[in-house]
């Protein structure tokens, strides 16, 4: 029965039914399954299948994003239960991410945030047009080891440098690796402003994050 329920959770993610994923997760908890079991034997296998299907070209971004949302909503149910048991999911790292001040572009940043979250990172997505001080205080508050700064415009990419300078002033530059992204951004720019890395797309961002956090 419990095996059946876990398989259904997996299937619901693969088939893109996030409401069902959440419902089944609740059902699994009520039936007495351990939260870690639900995660490791229900949700994670589902996300892995979706990830594989995306890589092979069978699945597309909507499949990926909808599955990741199902996973996130289920995790919101499971997190308090984990805390109550003094358990934690092994996290690949903690990421604070946002589009820098003056930049309201959302898609690339959200794509990276979602896929990072689905890859096991703890993600704090601050949204768009994020004030430099907000990045600094969120990194302090969460103890994040990764910071993602998105800028789509040549006029806002300079703000990425300002955030790095603000981290230095706050004395926390050493505790966090800064990843930058956005259309006008390059490895050269990353080197110029003293960021720790640049990625061209979401898949590249995950590889970079794993390398930096590892």
């Amino acid at each position: 029965m419990s095996k059946d329920l876990l398989a259904k959770i997996t299937t619901s993610l693969v088939e893109g039914e996030p409401d069902e994923t959440v419902g089944l997760t609740r059902q699994a908890l009520e039936s007495g399954l351990e939260p870690l079991t639900i995660i490791n034997e229900g949700l994670v296998p589902g996300m892995n299948i979706v990830g594989d299907k995306f890589q092979s070209g069978e699945y597309f971004l909507p499949h990926l994003i909808i599955a990741a949302n199902g996973m996130q909503q289920s995790m919101a149910l499971l997190d308090p239960e984990l805390t109550a048991r003094q358990q934690a999911v092994e996290s690949a790292g903690t990421l604070v991410i946002g589009s820098v001040a003056g930049d309201i572009h959302e898609i690339g940043k959200t794509l990276v945030a979602t896929m990072m979250s689905a890859s096991g990172f703890q993600v704090y997505d601050l949204g768009v047009d994020v004030a430099t001080e907000t990045f600094v205080s969120k990194v302090k508050e969460t103890g994040a080891n990764l910071l993602g700064l998105s800028a789509l415009l040549t006029t806002t990419m300079t703000v990425q440098r300002e955030v790095i300078e603000a981290l230095e002033e706050a004395g926390i530059r050493d505790q966090v690796k800064v990843m930058i992204g956005g259309a006008p951004v390059s490895q050269e720019w990353s080197d110029t402003i003293g960021a720790d890395g640049f990625a061209e797309d979401a898949v590249g961002a995950i590889e970079l994050a794993k390398r930096l956090a590892g």
């Binding site: 070209g57 597309f60 971004l61 898609i107 794509l111 040549t154 006029t155 300079t158 006008p184 797309d201």
Partner: protein, 487 residues
């Protein structure tokens, strides 16, 4: 009869406009600009200053649609009318604001500097198929904060054609306006005979950022034309259905026209955009996708139904090198734009979505544009009767090359491409070095550049332009602008 593409039925156009109007009431449009919110509030819109959301009732929009010009002209720097925004006029300019240039030698992308853009402006001047300049790339040898105005400064030193431009900040718009005024003599002259259009870009979905909204208002106040560049990304920032993306485009543009006309009744404004059918595998915004072309053609039809001058970013490619994909995507978009009757088609030279400019692609695109312009002139009778007289005279002789009728009509009936397009025999092609389109394009670029004639600008005016731009540069830590290239 001129060939014309209609993407939508009349009923669908009506429904799209109706839904666009309804979106302006619920959920309304986000306006992150104080002045615009005040204008909308004063006009009777339901404005929430806390959330910065304006809900705009239809009568206010209809009033704006009643005062916007349905057509206007752009003038070259000799004061001649050269571009007609309105009706089914079709004109082309290069894609704008590239952040890289495709290096002619290495065929790799690199950041452009002053010399690259000056060369580009000169090239555009010499290409007959292009009707206007654009501030086509962002030079990396000046501070980012003056990237917008520096492009215009360079172009004004070398161009005669009018220019499609845009500001990246609120304050730099004023510097750009001052340079344009310096060129034509006075603010009145600039309003009377516009030489530049400013792109203003709402952000999907339904958002006017402070910067772009202020640019639009400032343009309106000086009767400088602004061009709405609404960019729904179907499936990402807009509904995935193409019609749904057009509904969003309609709502954003209607709100833009409204704010513009509230700032200044009668100010020229263009119904334009740069939408894309989002790529569901790569997460990119392909300009060469058929879905993108369809959204553009459809919103153009909506704009025309509302009596608006129109614009679209079309004729670009997502390819990274000038290859077969580059050609097929650019041709598809440009030809569709011409058939749709888009007044200003921006995109020539542009590749890698909207990020890279190429001199070689520009001259290849010029041939596509030449063909597209010929296409929409259509097949016409020319003589009455069409052929009876001539064919009876010649009987069964295939002797048309020798006829004065042929001499009279051949270069009007047949589009004659430059040597970029190879139509020689195999032997002829081999004799000329077996060159690919890329190599022929390189030759063509050099040939055209050699024919460039600089405009007659007085030293006084050059100094004035430089002073205006230098003053802006000094605010951002650059004491002296890079020198203009020699010759």
């Amino acid at each position: 009869m001129r060939p014309k593409l209609n993407m939508l039925s009349d009923e669908l156009v009506e429904q799209i406009i109706a839904e666009g109007l309804e979106l302006l009431i619920d959920p309304g449009v986000r306006v992150h600009n104080k002045e615009a919110l005040e204008l909308l509030g004063d006009a009777g819109a339901d404005v929430d200053l806390e959330t910065q959301i304006a809900k705009i009732p239809e009568p206010i929009v209809r009033q704006a649609l009643a005062t916007r010009p349905s057509e206007f002209y752009l003038y070259d720097l000799n004061g001649e009318r050269v571009v007609h925004y309105g009706g089914d006029s079709v004109q082309f300019d290069p894609g704008s604001a590239a952040i890289t240039i495709l290096d002619s030698e290495t065929q790799e992308q690199r950041v452009p500097v002053t010399d690259d853009f000056v060369k580009f402006v000169k090239l555009v001047e010499t290409i007959p198929q292009l009707d206007a300049q654009s501030t086509a790339m962002i030079c990396a040898d000046v501070p980012e904060e003056i990237g917008d105005l520096y492009r215009l400064y360079l172009a004004l030193n070398y161009m005669r054609k009018p220019i499609i431009t845009g500001a990246f900040r609120k304050d730099t718009w004023w510097t750009m306006k001052d340079m344009l005024v310096a060129m034509v003599g006075s603010e009145e002259a600039l309003a009377e005979k516009p030489v530049a259009v400013f792109d203003v870009c709402p952000s999907p979905p339904l958002l006017w950022s402070d910067l772009t909204c202020q640019n639009m208002i400032d343009c309106a106040r000086y009767s400088i034309p602004s061009e709405l560049v609404s960019m729904p990304l179907a499936g990402a920032t807009a509904p995935v259905t193409l019609a749904g993306a057009v509904v969003q485009h309609t709502a954003e543009c209607l709100s833009g026209v409204t704010i513009c006309q509230l700032a200044q009744e009668g100010a020229p404004i263009v119904w334009g955009g740069s939408p894309a059918a989002f790529d569901m595998r790569e997460g990119t915004t392909p300009m060469g996708a058929v879905g993108t072309w369809m959204i553009d053609s459809a919103y153009t039809q909506v704009g025309k139904a509302l009596g608006m001058p129109t614009h679209a970013y079309l004729g670009m490619s997502d390819a990274k090198v000038v290859d077969a994909q580059c050609g097929l995507e650019s041709a598809g978009g440009a030809i569709l734009a011409a058939l749709a009757g888009v007044n200003m088609v921006s995109g020539a030279g542009m590749m890698d979505f909207e990020s890279c400019q190429s001199y070689e692609k520009l001259v290849i695109d010029a041939e596509i544009i030449g063909m597209a312009k010929r296409l929409i002139e259509g097949v016409v009778a020319r003589d009455e009767p069409i052929a009876l007289g001539l064919m009876r005279k010649l009987g069964h002789r295939a002797d048309y090359l020798a006829q004065t009728h042929t001499l009279k009509w051949f270069d009007k009936e047949l589009y004659i491409p430059s040597a970029v397009i190879d139509r020689g025999s195999l032997d002829a092609w081999k004799r000329k070095g077996s060159k690919t389109a890329w190599e022929r394009a390189k030759d063509r670029v050099n040939e055209l550049l050699a024919s460039y004639q600089p405009p007659s600008i007085t030293d006084e005016l050059r100094t004035e332009l430089r002073d205006i731009a230098t003053k802006a540069a000094q605010r951002f830590g650059m004491d002296e602008l890079p020198p203009l290239p020699e010759d």
